[in-house]
Amino acid sequence: MEPLQDLNWLLSLGTFLPLVGVLLMLFVPKKDVDTAKTIALGTALATLAVGVVTALKFDYGQSENLQFFASHSWIKPISATYTIGVDGISLPLYLLSMLITVLVMIYSWNHVPSPGNAKAFFMLMLVLQTGMAGTFMAQDLILFFVFFELVLLPMYFMIGVWGGENRQYASLKFFLYTMFGSALMLVGFIALFVVTKNNAADPAAANFSFQWFNENGPDVAKNTAIWIFGGLFIGFAVKVPMFPFHTWLPDAHTEAPTQGSVILAAILLKLGTYGFVRIAIPFLPQAAVKWAPAIAVLAVIGIIYGALGCLAQTDMKRLIAFSSVAHMGFVMLGISTLTDLGINAALFGMVAHGLITGMLFFLAGSVKERYHTLQISKLKGMLKSMPKLGWIFGFCAMASLGLPGLAGFWGEFPALLASWSPAEVLLGNGHEGLFRVLTIIAALGTVLAAGYLLWLFQRTAMGEPAVEAAGDHHESDIHDVNAFEWAAWVPMLIGIVVLGVVPKLLLDLSDPGVQIITKVFKGGN
């Protein structure tokens, strides 16, 4: 269990390289858009290259261990350390954040949303990249929190400046809502630190690194742990977002520019679920057992509720946004079972949802660009007017509704299996019946998912194209997938298929780490 310290500068490089790009871009005149874009994309590609090197150097035989581990003292007075490292749980998300940034940049190359200002837009994306990658590599609560919050600001500006009509309301709601959650989360962090420090035999050794909490967190008295978990729960649940903390999501997604939606769906939502797996559950296992039934109930409500919300939508993008609530419900259901099967499913579901829903938002953006509307009733016969885009859309809808052989399936199906037989500690507490009922209701969610996605597909893609469609668009706007879109989409489409056919790729990575987390939940009380 000794973390591997080889090449431990790689992660810092990968995380902070985008900031170097931002610095460089500062010196580019605002008018020189192409140079700015080139620098941004170059930085993102270089970052991705660092990511690829990280992936290649990763020792897959020991994926339960932290690798590229580095630990330095950082802010002494508050015992915060600069501790970083990735293991099999965080590596896929770390890499996904880099990949998505590159793809979003390629897509943005000639899709900078109004009011333009490509330089600022690309700079924000780079800052965002640093925040996202940093969150996944941080192994210290304060460092984690800093990156977690760092993500907020660029996203706030992205929605607030480049968003739709109602952008100010949406961005402020997003910001305040998440801040509200973060505040409680921070309180939880600090409380956890103080409690563990007071409990410890050697208080002077206390620090904010994950290792400290992994060792000392489980000893926190049960009642205290339940309260602290509550704080963490709200912080992460807002980010996930779980019912009933999800109301910021449809607004933020609807108003955000395409790029913002993609990043939001692909990476940002995962920060919350990642927090549960990495922080809340291993640090406070006793509290996790107490909270798990509640989380499961909320998750299942989210599944059904998100699906019903989708069925009521008239706007394509908002529908996709609501579907995120349902899908993240499956992820949370997996986590709440506290089994290796469930948590692995959740980790898989995070990556799969990132790719699939990210793709769906890309598609919604491209549809909007062509038709100037996302009203479902006004979009008809996309398969005919732009067959490639239509079929890609069909493919993604199928992936999203959990068709086996595509990535989405491996997030949903094992979660259902796991929730039928949750961890033994939960069974011991007499929650067996509850979880079984939840399994059946969640299975109903898959039917509803097929319902709203195929309904959407039928309405928008099938049939004859409407003659005067959206009123103010010109025929010339409607063209099939262009080169930039292909470049941005093909890697995601390939990812969806490859992960769907060979789930081993991810599961072998995450499983050893998950085994360590779930060890305490197996057998006895």
Partner: protein, 695 residues
């Protein structure tokens, strides 16, 4: 063991690869990708035939002992202790299905090259149909539940694509959606059922599950029962059993080759296959063949389906819909057979049914393609085609005879054994259902045959007659791509039954497949009874009813459709009782109304609207400090949200909301003074609280 048996996993892989090739290069091929599809199916057929040959060898070699399944597995993924494999599980049942699917797919694809020639999406069609076969092949040789689910869902997807092949018309896309949804509703059962199996047996490998179930190696019989029920719900959806059969007739919206493939060997038999595959789970879970048990879930559902679907087949004007309901009814027979413990007969019925049902559908397609101007309406556009399309007519008659269960033709051997077993295994009610069903089958098939091939030519058929006249021809059948598959299928419809002909004591089929049952044959707990000895006396009542059905139906048809002035014509409009019955049948027992108008619309409209309304007003409202959600229930639309969020709060609810954490809105009034007041006010209150707490 044999190369073919060990490499059977190639059988689904070849069409799957072919699918990718057609998608990528099909449009650039001279024949639009159909050559790739046909070649892949031929290759699969060769492999399947080789596997079948070697399997028979294998069975013969293990004389006296049970022939073990041949497993070729690789680890697909592993989570903790749960290992899930991918590969092939080859035994008698799998071999039968492989051969059947590959064979029928090949014929259907050849047929399609003519039938959908010049279609707007020719290449798409072949891609989907190839993937469809790949899905079914993947499923039948699945060594575990996950791979089975994979194939199962791929078929669902392809049925969606194929039924909605002509999606420009709304009705077709609706039918496609309906098929997918209905099956998906059933799939809930499969998902949950697999979860239950995992909880009971701690594995997902089919072989291990069957062994453990047969050995009684499970903790809770009750849970096993529920697992069987859940899995059976999936079978109801997939195999069009009552009450989820309503999607099958609508699925006729797809091209005819699709219907024939869908209804003969793939998709709809998947449910029956699943029951046969996991027979120990169902058999033990549902207490089959236990002394004193005269009913069980599978037999009841199968029996109801037999009668209900046969009843519906009487009132259809669309020839394909008659055949569709006939399929549903025959699937009911198969389920019923499995339910009464006649495993071999049921599987054998899958086998024989595939040939004659495929032939019937292809005949219907041939009639529409050549004789009735692309119409499937028997009353409007057919009639009197007997002499004009002799090959089609011949194959149709042979297949109809097989379907009705006339002695010495394939359907007889399989169906009679199911009916006989029901009686023998103490399921009297289902014996009666069986023979009544046989009566009805004969009756509605006689009606369909009469309307299509006898009597006067009408509509499209009349037009066809004029064309023939113009060309000075007696007859003109469809091109060879259509007739050759028809003839092959016709021949098989005649003779395939002799593989397991009880009257002659030929039991080859039984011998080759019995090891797949997974349970011992004979007496004792958990045992499946031996098939009964055949006797003509036992078969006689059924045969008499079949003959009666033929005679009554023929007479009625002649009377009703034979002359314009028949007093029986329009009886249903004059007689209120018959009229009500007719209406009830035409409306498909109002099940569709229940599903579409009440359940689907219920969810899609009021319930989801209500949920969304709740989201926008209750939850969102609370967050934004609006406690007035219930004040107005009428015209609450988006506008209200604006008002509630921005003005309503500022005006009214400031006092209630201020203390709450969610009360962000009134604070954001944008007034600097307000911010100041809040800041200092909060500081003052905070200070006060601290003081109070500390004293």
């Amino acid at each position: 063991m044999g190369w073919f048996l060990e490499h059977a996993w190639l059988i689904p892989v070849i069409p799957a690869v072919a699918f990718a090739l057609i998608i990528l290069f099909g449009k650039r091929m001279p024949r639009g990708g159909s050559e790739i599809g046909i070649a892949s199916m031929l290759a699969a057929l060769v492999l399947a035939a080789g596997a079948a040959y070697q399997w028979i060898d294998h069975v013969n070699a293990s004389e006296g002992e049970e022939a073990h399944a041949v497993l070729t597995r690789w680890e697909w993924f592993r989570i903790g202790d749960l290992k899930v494999s991918i590969g092939a599980h080859i035994d008698g049942l799998a071999v039968v299905m492989l051969l059947l699917v590959a064979f029928i797919s090949t014929l259907v694809q050849i047929y399609s090259t003519e039938y959908v020639r010049g279609d707007r999406r020719y290449t798409h069609f072949f891609a989907s149909i190839t993937l469809f076969s790949a899905g079914m092949l993947t499923m039948v040789l699945a060594p575990n539940m996950v791979q089975l689910l994979l194939g199962w869902e791929i078929m669902g997807l392809c049925s969606f694509l194929l039924i909605g092949h002509w999606w420009e018309e709304r009705a077709n896309s609706e039918a496609a959606l309906k098929a997918f949804w209905t099956v998906r509703v059933g799939d809930m059962g499969l998902l949950v059922g697999i979860g239950m199996l995992l909880a009971i047996f701690h594995t997902l490998e089919i072989g291990e599950i069957n062994e453990a179930a047969a050995a009684g190696d499970f903790d809770s019989k009750k849970l096993l029962m529920w697992a069987a029920v859940a899995l059976f719900i999936a079978c109801i959806g997939k195999s069009g059993q009552f009450p989820l059969h309503t999607w099958l007739p609508d699925a006729m919206a797809g091209p005819t080759p699709v219907s024939s493939l869908l209804h003969s060997s793939t998709m709809v038999v998947a449910g029956v296959f699943l029951v046969a595959r996991l027979y120990p789970v169902f058999h033990i879970g549902l207490d089959m063949n236990i002394a004193g048990q005269h009913f069980n879930l599978i037999a009841v559902i199968g029996g109801i389906t037999v009668l209900i679907a046969a009843g519906l087949a009487f009132v259809q004007n669309d020839i394909k819909k008659v055949l569709a309901y006939s399929t549903v009814s025959q699937l009911g027979y198969m389920m019923m057979g499995l339910g009464v413990g006649a495993w071999t007969a049921a599987v054998f019925h899958i086998f024989t049914h595939a040939f004659f049902k495929c032939a019937l559908f292809l005949c219907a397609g041939s009639v529409a393609h050549t004789g009735s101007h692309h119409s499937f309406d028997m009353k409007k556009d057919m009639g009197g085609l007997r002499k004009k399309m002799p090959i089609t007519f011949g194959v149709w008659i042979v297949s109809t005879v097989a379907l009705c269960g006339i002695p010495f033709v394939s359907g007889f051997f399989s169906k009679d054994e199911i009916i006989d077993s029901a009686k023998h295994n103490d399921y009297k009610v289902f014996y009666i259902v069986g023979i009544v069903g046989a009566f009805m089958t004969t009756a509605y098939m006689t009606r369909a045959t009469y309307l299509t091939f006898f009597g006067k030519s009408r509509g499209g058929a009349e037009h066809f007659e004029h064309e023939l006249h113009h060309d000075h021809k007696e007859s003109k059948d469809s091109p060879w791509q259509i007739t050759v598959p028809l003839v092959i299928l016709g021949v098989l419809a005649l003779f395939s039954g002799y593989l397991n002909a009880a009257p002659f004591h030929w039991h080859w089929f039984e011998k080759w497949t019995e090891s797949s049952i997974g349970l011992p044959l004979g007496e004792g707990s958990f045992a499946v009874p031996h098939p009964p000895e055949f006797s003509w006396a036992a078969a006689a009542p059924g045969l008499a009813l079949v003959a009666a059905g033929f005679a009554i139906s023929l007479l009625l048809c002649k009377a009703v459709f034979g002359s314009e002035t028949s007093p029986l014509r329009g009886l249903t409009t004059r007689n209120p009782v018959l009229g009500a019955g007719h209406k009830f049948l035409v409306n498909k027992y109002y099940l569709d109304t229940l599903y579409e108008k009440i359940i689907v619309h219920g969810i899609a409209y009021p319930i989801s609207k209500a949920a969304y309304w709740t989201n926008q007003h209750i939850i969102d409202g609370v967050v934004n400090g609006v406690g007035k959600g219930g004040r107005r229930t009428g015209d609450l639309v988006y506008k209200y949200i604006d008002q509630a969020l921005v003005d309503g709060v500022v005006n009214g609810s400031g006092t209630t909301a201020r203390g709450a954490g969610g009360a962000l809105q009134p604070v954001q009034s944008g007034k600097v003074n307000m911010y100041g007041a809040l800041l200092f006010g909060a500081a003052a209150v905070g200070g006060l609280v601290l003081v109070l707490v500390n004293t």
